[in-house]
């Protein structure tokens, strides 16, 4: 019994190495690497369970970047290796795996997590062991750990501009807003911020409908017809959707089937990207909106390069790129630059070196890492096209810094600093 308990740890190093070997089977050009043990990055994305749908693409992105950097001679003249684990969409397992990556696989940085809960689960581990996590997904903010770099958007870099757009002439002068979301912390917080924002813009609570549904909700008949009714009150209405990835397909199907056209009730989504649209027939959805910091359709040299890399790596013309992948890419580039600048992979110097790092991101802007551990990002609003791509109809002139502590949440006033 105890042997089974102890053995894994002892053999795991070897085992992991073996695992890595297979992972790195990719045809990396044999370069002569300088002295020193390989640099290790951990990949902490669910490859099974409910989140696998979204997270496997990020795993592939990191592996792609590892291949890329090795092809360019590695980092500090050392080879970069990826340690891939499967936390299986199981939040406690995330914490366990994080500890394993840091203590057993001895990785220098970890790229991982999608859901907020997984991040919350690993946070104490990273803080205890002073590890480095790159979190690539847009999230609700209200957090800032010295051990995490958030390369996704904070609410002010996605939600608020999108709603402003809906309320503007191009968005259809919305006077009533339906806030639909999956019942977890990101939608709850985002909607709370939006409600405060809308009130500040003179929209009464009576003109705001807030509805939450469970994960993977697949029967949207009731809610969509409620929205229809809500829209039938004689004011221009729009939908703001924080519905979680998986439930979107049935939601949009229902929207399409109940004949809600973007001209009548436009909707803007914060969690629907090219990946989600790949799963549905987008024709009935043309004109509905999504707000991100990157679209695959962006015209920029950096994006062309990124897409090229991706299609070369994944060898499947149908596989798209999306915002979290771009954030992973950018985060990896920044980490590489920081390590190069610090001349070491030790966490503290690298953290220092991260601040002020700039990368010409695929979104076509130069993104900078600020001392609040968040990136400055452009905000883009895209219209769903028949082919499942987005056409950017509005974007900020420049990348805007993140407000991870939202001014619209009063409690932030008496928040403990540091």
């Amino acid at each position: 019994m105890p042997t089974t308990a102890v053995r894994p740890a002892v053999t795991r190093r070897a085992a992991l190495a073996a695992g890595l070997g297979s992972v790195l089977a990719a045809p990396a050009i044999r370069l002569s690497f300088g002295q020193g043990a390989p640099i290790r990055v951990g990949v902490l994305h669910s490859l099974s369970g409910t989140m696998a749908i979204s997270e496997t693409a990020l795993r592939d992105t990191v592996l792609m970047m590892v291949e890329w950097i090795n092809a360019r001679g590695g980092l500090l003249g050392r080879r970069v290796e990826a340690a891939v684990v499967d936390p299986a969409s199981n939040w406690p397992l995330f914490a366990e795996k994080a500890r394993e990556l840091l203590q057993v696989a001895k990785v220098d940085a970890v790229f991982g997590c999608w859901t907020s809960v997984s991040r919350k689960s690993v946070l104490p581990v990273f803080e205890e062991l002073n590890g480095l996590l790159f979190y690539p997904v847009q999230y609700e903010g209200e957090e800032q750990s010295r051990n995490v770099f958030y390369t996704g958007a904070a609410p002010n870099q996605q939600a608020i501009p999108a709603v402003e757009y809906l309320m503007g002439p191009d968005g259809g002068d919305a006077k009533r807003i339906a806030l639909l979301g999956t019942d977890y912390v990101y939608p709850r917080t985002t909607n709370r911020i939006l409600r405060a924002f809308l009130n500040s813009k003179g929209i009464a609570d009576a003109d705001i409908l807030e509805e939450y549904t469970p994960f993977g909700h697949s029967d949207w008949q009731g809610i969509v017809s409620r929205v229809k009714r809500f829209a039938g009150e004689g004011k221009r209405t729009a939908i703001v959707s924080t519905i979680n990835g998986d439930a979107n397909v049935p939601f949009y199907r229902e929207l399409g089937n109940q004949g809600i056209k973007a001209e009548d009730i436009p909707s803007v989504a914060f969690s629907v990207g090219e990946e989600e649209l790949a799963g549905i027939d987008a024709k009935p959805l043309v004109g509905h909106l999504a707000a991100w910091n990157y679209f695959m359709s962006v015209q920029a040299p950096a994006n062309t390069e990124f897409k090229q890399m991706w299609s070369n790596y994944i060898k499947n013309p149908r596989r798209v790129t999306n915002d979290p992948m771009e954030a992973t890419y950018t985060g990896f580039r920044m980490w590489a630059q920081a390590v190069a600048k610090a001349g070491t992979t030790a966490v503290d110097p690298v953290r220092e070196a991260m601040y002020g790092q700039k990368v010409d991101a695929p979104c076509g802007y130069a993104e900078e890492m600020h001392r609040n551990h968040h990136l400055s990002k452009p905000v883009m609003i895209g219209e769903i096209q028949a082919d499942g791509q987005f056409n950017t109809v509005w974007k900020t002139p420049a990348a805007i810094p993140a407000e991870n502590w939202s001014p619209f949440i009063p409690e932030n006033a008496n928040r403990r600093r540091g």
Partner: protein, 512 residues
Amino acid sequence: MARLIRAVLLLLALALPAAAQQDAFDAAVSGLAGGFNQQAEAVERLGALGDPRAVPLLRALADGRLLKRPDGGLVPPGEAAPPGAEPVRVNNRVRVALRGALGRLQLVSPDPAERLAAAEAVFRSRDAANAPLLEAALARESLPRIRSQMELSLAASRLVAADKGAKRAAIAALGAAGSTDARALLLEARAANPALAAEIQTAVAAIDRRLSLRRMAETLFQGLSLGSVLLLAALGLAVTFGVMGVINMAHGEMVMLGAYTTFFVQEALRGVPWLLPWSLPLSVPAAFLVAALVGAAIERGLIRHLYGRPLETLLMTFGVGMILQQAVRTLFGAQNREVLSPPWMQGTLTLPGGVSVTQNRLWIIVFGVAVLLAVLAAIRLTRFGLEMRAVVQNRRIAATMGIRTGRVDALTFAFGSGVAGMAGVALSQIDNVSPNLGTGYIIDSFMVVVFGGVGSLAGTLVGAMTLGVVNKVLEPWAGAVLAKVAVLVALMLFIQRRPRGLFALRGRAAEG
């Protein structure tokens, strides 16, 4: 620019209007290539000009077929696309304008469908300027359906006109129409002219009375449609669990396999455009076969060895489910698969009384009932069904009468799995086609079967429909989650009262 001139000249060739209008028209057309705001204005102007030549242009623009040259010049519709040309993008604002403009222009189109669409579009565009157009169109219109729509639209545009008398009439007309849109218009108008508030109020009240009835009908429909989904998901179990007493935790994966089969059939038919719309019906037998084969393999290879040990079977099939799910994930990727809905399953259908039901849901109800009947027929009418019932009632005697019970078991399980596969075809229309598809349905299916009474198909039907409707009735008050929780708890308590379910079977059904 020269090219644009030529383009316009080409348009001129179609018809020769007064030179005066000419410049206005050209100016407007050139505006279409500009920024969104410019576009919107241009579209509105074209709509106002009422020049029929604008129609093809606008329609091309609406469908994203209108091309723009690198130099900004427009490519006339129908002309070959020059190199470097790309479609002119629009946004919602432009779309709204387009709908209005096309509506105005097509009110007099020879095609009745177009006239109807136009009338509806004009209704939405809420523009007083439309009134004269509509009057003109009405004068010529003969088809009653279109006339009534046009009258509504007329009322809508008069509502925003200046004339008080006209407004009163409009309010009455809209009140009589009793649609949600009409209600919206009226409420909008109420804000605009407080003088008429009282009349508008009565009109709205009239509409609300109708709507409340309609809402009940729609809730019922939604309940039935949810019920039919549950029914489809549970039917396979009703066979494997109900008849054989086998707890198949991999049942959800069978459904998932069915959905994937649908996807692959569709991919296979992409080459054959005329068949594509029928890929869904074609996938039904395919999905049945695939799932049935997998089911047969599982039964012969594994379950067979565990008969009489339902709990072990449960655990074992749980493992099988894990394997199937991961297999699909590694083979076809974790991403969702796109299964198109054929045209005849899209959009909504308005029943008499204004109750609108979504086509795909309607078809799924039909499909669910059809599958149920098919299963009944298979069990009641076929030789296989007879043997199956015989084996269920008394395996030993059946064996002595020369029935190869092993074979029957395999067939029964395969049959149940096949039914699950067919459910997958339906679910591919309303849910994600992903490796996790099945997991979401397994528990509900079990509850349906147990609630309805194990071994009784009638019970499964009633059970599924009851659960669906109750769920949908509760949803508005309790919210989706609490409704589901409430239903589950109620079910658990019900099963305490009647452990054998609604339609308890005599003798042994599936004893644990």
